[in-house]
Amino acid sequence: MARIQNIIGKRSNWSFPYAVFLILFVALPMVLIMGYAFVKEGGGFTFSNITRFFTDSDALSTFAVSIEIALETTAICLLLGYPVAWLLANSKFNKSSITIVIFILPMWINALMRTLATADLFNMLGITLGKGTLLFGMVYDYLPFMIYPIYNVLRRMDPSYAEAAQDLGAKPAKVFTSVTLPLSLPGITSGIMMVFMPTVSTFAISEFLTNNKIKLFGTIIQENINSSMWSYGAALSFIMLIIIGLTSLLTSSSEEDNVAEGGLI
């Protein structure tokens, strides 16, 4: 009894239930993706599911389109979102910390519903659904994810750096390019990751925004899983995981501080 008391009393042991949960619901599923992707039915290692992807012209072109759309969405979000974050973090233009909430609030409404409304809005305005409307919808869906991390970094930035540059004679443009912009890089990389990762993997959204004209990679994964082609679906998921892994490696150092800030409330 005293022994059990001791084990429970030691606080480092309190993460044990979650550790078991993580092994079962996070680690094992990841292993299973690789298992289904690389193990033949009946056992034995195989590359056939991966090579199938590289000879599947449909999947390859969808993959290329997904990367392209995700890159374009991320670039547009950065161009539109940076000025918003900068203005909101600048006390000359905005004094309240509530304004940012208004900019990230649409995220709390069901994304599918918003997407469908966007598509219907385009229909009503007589705009043909296609790549343009897809990009608009994606930017609309993910812009808050770009604004928020950049805003956070800019707001916490010590204004005396910019003031010092100014006092030393730098013009506003120079102050921005050599002080503010470099110091806000952690926010930018975090924003890029938070926009790129979900856009490259969305499913359903692009079909609704383009009237089924443009299919993205996430949808191919879903179609294979739903038609019981688990091994190929798992192989495609594995390829997606590699893309995600590479992206997060490129941006990992800055991302942690932002998430640790306490999320998006």
């Binding site: 599923p29 966007t118 998430v259 999320g263």
Partner: protein
């Protein structure tokens, strides 16, 4: 002049962000089945929503499922995540790193991957997918956010208070309830709200783990509806109401936080 430009720009972006929401809200006041068709002002969709007219469409049961799943997932995640955060805070070395690494995976993973991987897990284990699998899946992607919201509170508090409680004769359970939890409460509340809203919003993970028993949440209902062509019109008033509630809650939450921060600053 500069200020005018700034306002104009912010206004334009806000208009873009809110246009679809305003569009839904406006068209919730007309009876037309097609979104974007104005057939005169009417509050019929609202009265349909509340009069039980919708009881056969599956919309109301989808709403109930969504709320119940979100509530259970958020509660379990908050308990599991808080305990885990305390454990992580007090452990060192490899054990801490492994738990933190695994904890990060559901946050970095796209929904589709989380969904597919859990689908494969339930297939592999031979678990029939339905309510339970969806709730478990939601706990999986919600708990990491609780952990990350509770950890900073542990850094802020004095770790000696727990030991003091034990020295004074409290059991670990009592010390947890009476000493630790009150101090961690703000982080737990934020974690709970995040978990709840993420569960409410989820589509992809639910889609892959709900199985074939006909379980619908609001997201899957909307998806199925849109696939069939044409959304159930009553979704418009429902979304409008949700939007207003969320808007009000978030504003209150943040205004209170800002006031508290200002008070703190004044006291210093």
């Amino acid at each position: 002049m500069k200020k005018l430009f700034a306002r104009l720009y912010l206004g334009l972006i806000l208009l873009m962000l809110y246009a679809p929401l305003i569009f839904i809200a406006v068209s919730s006041f007309t009876e037309s089945r097609v979104l974007g068709n104005w057939t005169g002002f009417s509050t019929k969709l609202y009265s349909n929503l509340f009069s039980g007219e919708m009881s056969n469409s599956g919309l109301m049961s989808a709403v109930n499922n969504t709320l119940l799943i979100a509530l259970i997932a958020a509660l379990v995640s908050t308990l599991l995540g808080t305990l885990a955060a305390i454990g992580i805070f007090h452990s060192r070395g490899r054990r801490k790193n492994v738990v933190m690494f695994l904890n990060n995976i559901p946050m970095v993973n796209p929904d589709v991957i989380t969904g597919v991987s859990l689908f494969l897990l339930f297939v592999f284990l031979g678990v029939t997918q339905g309510y339970v699998s969806v709730v478990l899946a939601h706990i999986t992607f919600c708990t990491p956010y609780v952990v990350l919201n509770v950890l900073p509170k542990l850094h802020q508090m004095n770790p000696k208070t727990y030991e003091a409680a034990l020295d004074l004769g409290a059991t670990p359970g009592q010390a947890l309830r009476k000493v630790l939890i009150p101090q961690l409460m703000p982080g737990m509340v934020t974690g709970f709200i995040l978990a709840f809203t993420m569960s409410l919003d989820d589509f992809a993970v639910t889609f892959f783990t709900r199985g074939t028993v006909g379980l619908e949440t609001l997201s899957t209902f909307i998806y199925t509806d849109a696939r069939k062509g044409g959304l159930t019109p009553e979704l418009r008033p429902l979304m409008t109401i949700i939007f207003i509630v969320v808007f009000a809650l978030l504003l209150i939450f943040n205004i209170r936080q800002e006031r508290a921060a200002k008070k703190k600053a004044l006291l210093k």
